[in-house]
C-alpha cells in the first residue's frame, strides 16, 4: 500500500487539480518545479537554517509526566506551540516563500481561518520584504482579533471575505479569485494540505519535519523511533499530515486524526468531515466534502476557527478510506475541557484546535507501556477570548 501522491496528483481516488483554466499556468508552473526546487541543496540549506534560527526548531518532544500518570501511558507532546508565531503553520510558509522567490514571484496571497496561517504568512513576507494580502472570513476576523492585528503590525493587508458563512472556506474562495486576477506576479501560499495538486503534497512535505524530528527524538529518548500512537487534530489536516508523514509506512504505528464534532455530529453543527462528508470537489481537489444532496457545500461549525472547514485534504481522505488513520471526533465542550485540563496538568494552554487532539485521550484505552505522541500544534494565546467566553474554568 502506498500513501504517497501519484504522478497525476492523486491519493487513491482523491486529489487531482480541478481548477478553472485561468489558473492552469500557475498550477502547472508549480507542479513542474516544486520537487526540483525543494530538493536543491541551496533550498534545503536555507530552509533548514530558517527553521532552526528563525522558527526555533527542533521543537522539543516533551514527556508529559502528569498527563502520563493520569492516562496510564507514556505521553509525549510535540511542542509545535513553541514555534515562532505560535503554531506549526510557519514550517509551511517558510518553505513556500523560499519557493515563491525561486519562481520569481513578488507578491504573496493567503487565506486564513484561525489566523495562525495568516500570521505565519505575514511573518515570512515581512522577513523577505514581500507584499502580502491575507483573506480572512469576516466572522473569523471578529473571533480572532489579536491575529488580525498581528498581521497588520507585520505590514500585511487583511481583506475580509464577506460571502457564505464568512469563514475559512469563503476566505479560500476569495484568495483563489485573487490569484485568477493576478496570475503572473503572485504566489498563493495555501495553509493546509488542501487545494489542487501539487499543494497537498507540497504542504505535507514542508510539515513533515514534525514527524522527522519525532522519530529522531524518540530514538534518542527511548532508543526506538516508533511510538505506538500519533495523535493530531484535523481541519484541513496540515499538522496531522506533518506528524503522520514519516510513520505512514510503519503500519504498527497507530495514527489518530481528531476532527471537530462541534455541538455533536448529529446536531447539524459540526465539522467532522469523515463522518458527514461524501466524495466531492472543492477548492481544486477531489476529497471528502460536507455537502447537501444537491452538491452544495455545507457550512461547517466548530468552536475552533481552525477546524471549521467543510473538507479534509485528499491525503487524509485516502488515509481514512484505506483505514491507515483512524478518525475520531470530539465536541466543543470536550475540547474546551481538555484545553483547561492540559493547562492545569502541564502548564500549557493549547490552541483550541490542538485541545481536540488532547480530548481523545480520555476515550482511548492504553497499555502502560504505550508511547503516545500528541502533536501540540499550537498555543492558546489567540484563543483567550474564546476560553473567556466559554467560561467554565
Amino acid at each position: 500500500m502506498t500513501y504517497a501522491v501519484d504522478e497525476k496528483g492523486y491519493y487513491g481516488q482523491f486529489g487531482g487539480a480541478y481548477i478553472p483554466e485561468m489558473l492552469y499556468p500557475n498550477i502547472e508552473e508549480l507542479r513542474l518545479n516544486y520537487l526540483k526546487i525543494i530538493q536543491e541543496d541551496g533550498f534545503i540549506a536555507e530552509f533548514d537554517q530558517l527553521l532552526k534560527d528563525f522558527v526555533g526548531r527542533p521543537t522539543p518532544l516533551y514527556f508529559a509526566k502528569r498527563m502520563s500518570e493520569r492516562y496510564k501511558a507514556k505521553i509525549y507532546l510535540k511542542r509545535e506551540d513553541l514555534c515562532h508565531t505560535g503554531a506549526h503553520k510557519i514550517n509551511n510558509t517558510i518553505g513556500q516563500i523560499l519557493l515563491a522567490q525561486r519562481l520569481g514571484k513578488r507578491k504573496i496571497i493567503a487565506e486564513t481561518g484561525a489566523g495562525q496561517h495568516g500570521v505565519a504568512t505575514a511573518t515570512v513576507c515581512a522577513l523577505m520584504g514581500m507584499e502580502c494580502i491575507v483573506y480572512m472570513g469576516k466572522h473569523d476576523m471578529e473571533r480572532q482579533k489579536p491575529n488580525v492585528e498581528r498581521m497588520r503590525i507585520l505590514g500585511t493587508k487583511v481583506v475580509p471575505a464577506l460571502s457564505g458563512s464568512m469563514t475559512l472556506k469563503d476566505a479560500t474562495n476569495q484568495a483563489m479569485r485573487h490569484w485568477i486576477n493576478h496570475p503572473t506576479d503572485t504566489h498563493y501560499i495555501i495553509g493546509s494540505v488542501v487545494g489542487p495538486h501539487p499543494y497537498p503534497d507540497m504542504v505535507a512535505r514542508f510539515q513533515s519535519v514534525i514527524s522527522e524530528e519525532i522519530r529522531n527524538q524518540l530514538n534518542e529518548e527511548i532508543g526506538n523511533p516508533f511510538p505506538d500512537y500519533v495523535i493530531a487534530c484535523v481541519g484541513g489536516g496540515s499538522n496531522a499530515a506533518g506528524a503522520f508523514y514519516h510513520f505512514l509506512n510503519d503500519e504498527h504505528v497507530q495514527l489518530i486524526g481528531v476532527e471537530a464534532g462541534g455541538k455533536g455530529v448529529d446536531t447539524g453543527k459540526s465539522a467532522a468531515t469523515t463522518v458527514l462528508g461524501k466524495v466531492g470537489i472543492l477548492h481544486g481537489s477531489k476529497s471528502l466534502l460536507m455537502q447537501t444532496a444537491d452538491g452544495q457545500v455545507v457550512e461547517p461549525y466548530s468552536i475552533s476557527a481552525g477546524l471549521d472547514y467543510p473538507g479534509i485534504g485528499p491525503m487524509h481522505a485516502h488515509l481514512f478510506e484505506t483505514g491507515r488513520v483512524q478518525f475520531l471526533n470530539v465536541t466543543d465542550d470536550e475540547a474546551m475541557n481538555a484545553g483547561i485540563e492540559l493547562s492545569r496538568t502541564e502548564g500549557i494552554i493549547p490552541a483550541i484546535e490542538t485541545a481536540h487532539a488532547i480530548a481523545v485521550l480520555s476515550k482511548m484505552d492504553f497499555a502502560p507501556d504505550d508511547v503516545v505522541v500528541i502533536n501540540l500544534s499550537g498555543r492558546g494565546d489567540k484563543d483567550l477570548e474564546t476560553y473567556i467566553k466559554w467560561g467554565k474554568y
Binding site: M22, R177, T184, G280, G295
Partner: protein, 256 residues
C-alpha cells in the same frame, strides 16, 4: 442535429450568447427569460447551474448564485425548467456550472437527462481537459452534446491546440486573466490576444466572454471572433429590472 453545431454551420459572425443564472432573480424566471432572449434575437442561451462556491466568478454572478440557491434552485428543478423552455424556445441551450453539483447528480445521468430535455452543450469551468478526455468525453459524445472549454490570455499555444482538439462545438475565450465581471473596454494587449487567437485558425470557432457588457465591447470582440458572451452585465440588468420583456429587448438591441 445538435443546435450549436447547426448554428455555427450557418453563422460565424457576431453571434451573441447570453448567460444567466437559473432561478434568478426569482425561481420561476428561468423560462420567461429564455423566451425574452429568443424574441430579442440572441443566438445562444447559457443557463448557469448555481453553486455555493463559484471560484471563477466575480461578485455579480456570485450574488446571483446565492440568491438562486436561496430561492430553492437545484439541478433537478433546472432540468425540469429546460424541458419547459424547449416547448417554446428553439435556440441552442448550454448549461454552465461547477463540477460538484453535477457529480452529485451523477455525471452520466446528468448528461443523459440534459440531452433528453433539449440541452445542446455544457460548460464546466473546473473540469480540466485531461480529466475530461479520460473520464467524461465519451459520455458527452454519445449523447451528442457539445462541451466547451475556457482559454485565457495566459493559456499556451500548445494547450490551446490540445483544447481545440478536445472541443466539439466552440471555445470560450476569456478576455483577460480575471474572474467574471463587466468591464468598460479592452486594452491593446487584450486586442492583440484576440488577434493571436484569430490567427491560430483553430478547428473550432471561438466566442469571447468576460468583460463584454455593451455595444462597444461586443463590437470589439466580434471583430476577431465568432461573437461574444455576455454574463455579469445581463445579471445586473435582471437584478434591477421591473419589466423583463422590455428591459431585455432594449438591452439586447443596445448590444447589437
Amino acid at each position: 442535429m445538435n443546435r450549436i453545431k447547426e448554428l455555427f454551420k450557418s453563422k460565424r459572425k457576431s453571434l451573441l450568447s447570453v448567460y444567466y443564472t437559473a432561478g434568478f432573480p426569482t425561481l420561476t424566471a428561468t423560462i420567461p427569460i429564455a423566451q425574452h432572449l429568443e424574441k430579442a434575437g440572441v443566438d445562444i442561451i447559457e443557463i448557469g447551474i448555481p453553486f455555493s462556491d463559484p471560484i471563477a466568478d466575480g461578485p455579480t454572478i456570485q450574488e446571483s448564485n446565492k440568491i438562486a440557491l436561496d430561492n430553492g434552485m437545484n439541478l433537478h428543478l433546472l432540468l425540469e425548467q429546460v424541458r419547459g423552455i424547449r416547448k417554446c424556445v428553439s435556440l441552442p441551450i448550454i448549461l454552465m456550472g461547477y463540477l460538484n453539483p453535477v457529480l452529485q447528480f451523477g455525471f452520466e445521468k446528468f448528461v443523459k437527462e440534459a440531452a433528453r430535455v433539449g440541452v445542446d452543450g455544457l460548460i464546466l469551468p473546473d473540469l480540466p481537459v485531461d480529466e475530461y478526455l479520460l473520464m467524461y468525453k465519451k459520455i458527452v459524445d454519445e449523447n451528442e452534446l457539445t462541451n466547451t472549454f475556457l482559454i485565457s490570455p495566459t493559456t499556451s499555444e500548445k494547450r490551446i491546440r490540445k483544447i481545440d482538439a478536445a472541443s466539439n462545438g466552440f471555445i470560450y475565450a476569456v478576455s483577460s486573466s480575471s474572474t467574471t465581471g463587466a468591464q468598460q473596454g479592452f486594452s491593446t494587449e487584450q486586442e492583440s490576444y484576440f488577434k493571436r487567437l484569430q490567427d491560430m485558425k483553430l478547428e473550432n470557432p471561438f466566442l469571447i466572454g468576460f468583460g463584454v457588457s455593451n455595444h462597444e465591447t461586443f463590437a470589439a470582440v466580434s471583430k476577431y471572433s465568432s461573437g461574444g458572451i455576455v454574463g455579469s452585465a445581463f445579471i445586473n440588468l435582471l437584478k434591477n429590472s421591473t419589466d423583463l420583456d422590455s428591459d431585455i429587448t432594449r438591452f439586447i438591441k443596445g448590444l447589437r
